[in-house]
């Protein structure tokens, strides 16, 4: 089952490819391609030679799987038990719900219509067991309906591939001359048991046959849909300011979260305007929470960003990134919970000034001064810990080193005098140079080395200078000088 935005014409062979060991390999093919003899598993390069008009798209198995998970929840409209079956199927346990849709045949037509409205083509079958439905949907007639007592008869003519076996076992059965499921059924049970005694479920035809015939149970373990936490407030007449309604909405939402034992990390306030437009504001927290006062406070300066238009008459507050959250006890001795307060402070600052304004500097492994410090989110744990160099480093570092004009005493030594920000500094003492070579695995070729000097000027200020490059090092003209930081 593939989702197609605007469906390509049926007469063009289209394949989905994924990366194999020796270039792209075909992952799935449409009907025209299959009729042309293109099978999954062959290399795209070979098939291009055979079939030049072939269209190749890259497969997205993870995206398909996620879409199928959503589709399984969408299919709850027909029955309460739905589950995704591997990468290309859905299993619906319609026991007791088919008669509501006018019988099984009518239900299949209804399903196919609804799925085609979504732009999906589907092969459907009804059978008493998971295995039989799997085989009939893929290898049986269109929209086949199979009763409880006719499973054996309907499965008989289907190929052994319909038993959900792995490819080696299918090949083995074919070599033994067992081409259909009916042929496998005719083999004495004892012989099959003896032959496949050590085989697992995916390579054991007997177990698979029992599952298809209903002799071995295979229940549908339905996944639970995550509840949506959303609170709405319908207003009698349009208003322009959602502020008075916000505390009540937060309170209700947090009560719902508390009853479910959950907390949220995102909140979205949406207003539905009378002119049909929708406007929303998002806030995020750095730890899961369900404290109404805290969540309400995060909206304080953001409400103004809502565009009310001609007023709105419906406000909804929805919790996102919902996670499980345990109730934590405050300290018994009456002290404050420090971690909680710190996360709340970071939340408030990030909500007001944006998450990029609140960071935490951490050490990184690098000799280049500006790369020895990185920035992470304020409450994240540092991934790598760089070591502090034994060399002396300044307390302040400029984001962009500032170029200075210098007066040399000797070409390789420190300057005797330099002009920085239109002021002349006379060098009284210096230490250095400390040579820092460029990181060849990161820097562009032609990056010049740096010689760092700590100099003290006539007023006692200690400054970190560097000379970029050497005289006649073949990487540009005369070396340039920069101020990079200030010592205490």
């Amino acid at each position: 089952m593939e989702r197609q935005g605007n469906a390509p014409p049926d007469d063009i062979p289209i394949v989905l490819a994924h990366e194999g060991h020796h270039g792209p390999v075909i992952y799935a093919a449409n009907r025209t391609a299959r009729l042309n003899g293109i099978n999954p598993g062959s290399r795209v390069v070979d098939i291009r030679a055979v079939c030049p008009e072939l269209q190749v798209e890259y497969a997205d198995p993870a995206g398909d799987r996620a879409a199928l998970e959503r589709l399984a929840l969408w299919a709850r409209r027909w029955c309460p038990w739905t589950v995704r079956d591997k990468d290309d199927g859905l299993i619906l346990d319609t026991t007791g719900s088919a008669h509501l849709l006018g019988g099984e045949a009518a239900m299949l037509v209804e399903m196919e219509t609804q799925l085609s409205l979504l732009g999906l083509s589907a092969q459907l079958a009804v059978a008493p067991t998971w295995g039989a439905a799997w085989a009939l949907a893929r290898f049986g007639p269109v929209r086949s309906v199979c009763g409880t007592d006719e499973v054996g008869g309907k499965l008989g003519p289907l190929p052994v591939t319909g038993l959900r076996l792995d490819s080696e076992t299918v090949l083995l059965l074919r070599r033994l001359g067992l081409k259909t499921i009916g042929a496998v059924m005719e083999v004495p049970r004892l012989s099959l048991t003896r032959r496949f005694v050590k085989a697992g479920l995916a390579s054991n035809p007997l177990l698979r046959l029992d599952q298809a015939l209903g002799k071995l149970a295979e229940p549908v373990a339905s996944v639970e849909a995550k509840p949506r936490f959303q609170m709405q407030s319908r207003l009698a007449e349009p208003v322009f300011d959602p502020t008075p309604h916000l505390p009540e909405l937060c309170e209700k939402l947090c009560n719902a979260l508390k009853q479910a034992g959950q907390g949220c990390r995102r909140l979205r306030l949406t207003v539905y305007r009378t002119d049909g437009d929708v406007s929303h504001v998002d806030v995020a927290t750095s730890a899961t929470t369900r404290d109404p006062n805290h969540l309400h406070g995060l909206f304080r300066d953001k409400i103004e960003r809502i565009n009310p238009g001609f007023g709105f008459d419906l406000i909804s507050l929805e919790a996102g990134s919902v996670e499980e959250m345990q109730e934590q006890q405050n300290r018994l001795d009456g002290g404050s919970d420090d971690d909680l307060h710190l996360t709340r402070l970071v939340d408030r600052l990030s909500a007001k000034f944006g998450p990029r304004a609140v960071t935490r500097p951490v050490l990184r492994e690098s000799h280049i001064p500006e790369r020895a410090e990185g920035r992470i989110a304020a409450l994240a744990a540092p991934a790598e810990t760089g070591a502090i160099t034994p060399h002396e480093r300044p307390l302040r570092l400029f984001d962009h080193p500032e170029e200075i004009r210098v007066l040399y005493a000797v070409p390789e030594g420190p300057p005797a005098q330099f002009i920085w920000r239109r002021q002349t500094h006379r060098v009284t003492r210096y230490s250095g140079p400390e040579r820092i070579a460029p990181e060849w695995w990161k820097d562009r070729p032609g990056t010049r080395l740096r010689d760092y000097f700590k100099v003290e000027d006539q007023t006692g200020q200690r400054i970190w200078l560097y000379r970029e490059g050497l005289h006649e090092d073949g990487r540009g003209g005369d070396p340039r000088w920069f101020v990079h930081g200030c010592f205490a």
Partner: protein, 225 residues
């Protein structure tokens, strides 16, 4: 024992020198690019591992750079907040002072914006004392006008102490400190020598000596502070 006496005793206990209540202090660097004030502020922070909230406005960051973690050499986390104007800096500092989990709050404000008036500093001072979190304002390109800061320092770099192994090189940094307003202690002037390796600050009262010779301190000569 009457209730009044008990209360007097308790208040006397609180004001022991060991249990100092932290408060708002201001530091005025002599020149804008001088990092001596920053070094002095860092020596005055309590020795804990609690995180520091460090708030900078845009001009301070552009003109004087950002604090460099490698040079500061502290293992406690720093939460940096980069903001655009002084109003936001004061808001963030005040919000940070509500949180007792912080080890210190440091703010850097450039010039004398109108939002940094007596009321704003008074609010910071009261919040800092209520939460017992030290708060430092580093004010560059500013004149010390009306403020409720309990301690106000003027800090400048002095020529460094001689290097023990290299006569050419500057040794331990020396600062001139001036406490020109204080509520708790006597004001005064000191010359400080800071040793970052042992985290030791030696204060010597400044003695009036004659002005430096014009050729003093050039390369090759021994320079003493």
């Amino acid at each position: 024992m009457s209730l009044l006496k008990v209360r007097q005793r308790l208040s006397g206990q609180v004001k022991r020198p060991g249990t100092m209540v932290h408060t708002l202090s201001e530091a005025f660097p002599e020149t804008v690019t001088d990092a001596a004030a920053l070094g002095f502020v860092l020596t005055r922070l309590p020795r804990t591992t609690a995180p520091i909230l460090w708030v900078q406005d845009r001009l301070s960051r552009k003109e004087t750079g950002r604090p460099y973690l490698v040079g500061i050499g502290m293992n406690r986390p720093i939460i940096m907040v980069d903001l655009s104007n002084a109003t936001d800096v004061l808001w963030a500092m005040e919000d940070g002072l509500r949180c007792r989990a912080l080890g210190a709050v440091i703010g850097e404000i450039w010039g004398a914006p109108s939002s940094l008036n007596f009321t704003a500093t008074k609010r910071l001072a009261l919040r800092s004392e209520a939460a017992n979190v030290p708060c430092w304002l580093i004010r560059r390109a500013a004149s010390p006008d009306l403020s409720a800061a309990r301690e106000r320092w003027r800090v400048a770099s002095l020529p460094a102490a001689p290097h023990p192994h290299d006569a050419q090189a500057p040794g331990l940094p020396r600062w001139s400190l001036e406490l020109f307003r204080s509520r708790r202690s006597k004001t005064g002037q000191w010359m400080a020598t800071h040793d970052q390796a042992t985290d030791r600050l030696d204060l010597t009262p400044s003695v009036r000596d004659r002005a430096l010779e014009p050729h003093d301190g050039t390369a090759g000569e021994r320079a003493t502070g």
